[in-house]
């Protein structure tokens, strides 16, 4: 994937988050402050305006600018969380003009570590990590099994979707949803859901869909 591919991927993420903004905010309304979808939509619109309209040739710089833009425009917790993830991936890709599927596990690893550091969360606390960590594990397994790109990414998408389903069964201990305690059970986590949409957008971009 070159600069054009990355720009297309980020545009596709912006598109799906725009389409799903009402749905994500509705999920958030049930257990949080009801703004996740529209916050993410605002953030990625700003990414399109500030970063994608005139992309840097350096993939690392693009991702770092995406991170800074999300940090300053999203508004909710997702800003520092996704922002830190993109900043870390940007550092990882510094100076690169091409990224391959083989680079992806390391990129996901640094993104997940950034989110864990920022949110002080672990798996099983009803957060975006419950989609991202299973997706990374499924990707690792698929690559180890020698699966082609789209198939490997589809495994990651399926694992993220299962992770989102899993968040319905557990109670929140992080963020605004933790005020609800047991009453948060039964609701799927909006952050895990937006992470799922991003991974799905990656698969669809690579598949050319």
């Amino acid at each position: 994937m070159d600069v054009n591919g990355l720009v297309q991927l980020l545009n596709n993420i912006a598109k799906v988050l725009h389409e799903q903004a009402d749905f994500l905010s509705e999920l958030d309304n049930a257990i949080g402050d009801g703004d996740h979808g529209h916050n993410m939509d605002k953030g990625f619109k700003a990414v399109q305006e500030r970063v994608l309209s005139n992309p840097d040739p350096d993939l690392g710089k693009i991702l770092q600018k995406v991170g800074m833009t999300l940090i300053s425009t999203v508004g909710g917790a997702a800003g520092p969380l996704y922002g830190t993830a993109f900043l870390r991936m940007g550092s990882q890709l510094a100076g690169k003009q091409e990224v391959t599927l083989q680079d992806l596990p390391k990129l996901m690893e640094v993104a997940i570590a950034g989110i864990q550091q920022r949110g002080k969360a672990v798996r099983g606390e009803k957060t975006m990590l419950d989609a991202l960590i299973p997706a990374k594990e499924a990707l690792d397994a698929a690559l180890a099994a020698g699966k082609p790109a789209v198939e490997a990414l589809s495994d990651a998408v399926a694992a993220a979707a299962e992770g989102v389903e899993y968040t319905k069964t557990i109670k929140a201990t992080k963020g605004r949803a933790s005020y609800l305690g047991e009453r948060s059970i039964g609701h799927q986590d909006p952050g895990a859901t937006s992470s799922y949409f991003m991974i799905r957008a990656l698969r669809d971009t690579v598949a050319g869909a």
Binding site: K42, S72, T73, V74
Partner: protein, 129 residues
């Protein structure tokens, strides 16, 4: 003199609190930051970093926050500062209103960063009833 930065999801809350603190804090530099650039409720780590730089003093800066993502945004802001400045900036878990007033008074009488922070945190120990 130690400076204060007040962070809220709401710009009005942060600015109103800054007025309240200035009333008791004399010449202590107080910066208020809240909301998103387009006026929604929320926090903006780059704006927090700018506010810290605006009132920065080598004596130190104490940052007080309201809840939730304002803590994460403030932590992110520290990473946006130069490392030598970041070392002089403390984030404080005190309740925002009581903590900011207590910190303002302590900073005014010349307390160092550790004392100003302790004053803010001890605001929890002053029951209202």
């Amino acid at each position: 003199m130690v400076s204060l930065v007040l962070v809220s999801h709401s710009r009005q809350l942060a600015e109103g609190l800054a007025d309240l603190v200035r009333q008791v804090a004399g010449d202590v530099p107080v910066a208020a930051v809240g909301g998103t650039p387009d006026g929604r409720l929320g926090t903006d780590a780059t704006a927090i970093a700018e506010a810290i730089n605006e009132v920065y003093s080598d004596d130190g800066v104490l940052v007080l926050m309201d809840l939730g993502s304002s803590v994460m945004a403030a932590e992110t802001a520290l990473e946006l500062l130069t490392p030598d400045r970041a070392a002089n900036v403390h984030l404080c878990g005190a309740p925002l209103v009581e903590g900011a007033v207590a910190a303002g008074v302590e900073a005014r009488v010349g307390g160092d960063l550790a004392r100003v922070r302790a004053a803010a945190e001890s605001a929890l120990n002053h029951p209202k009833f």
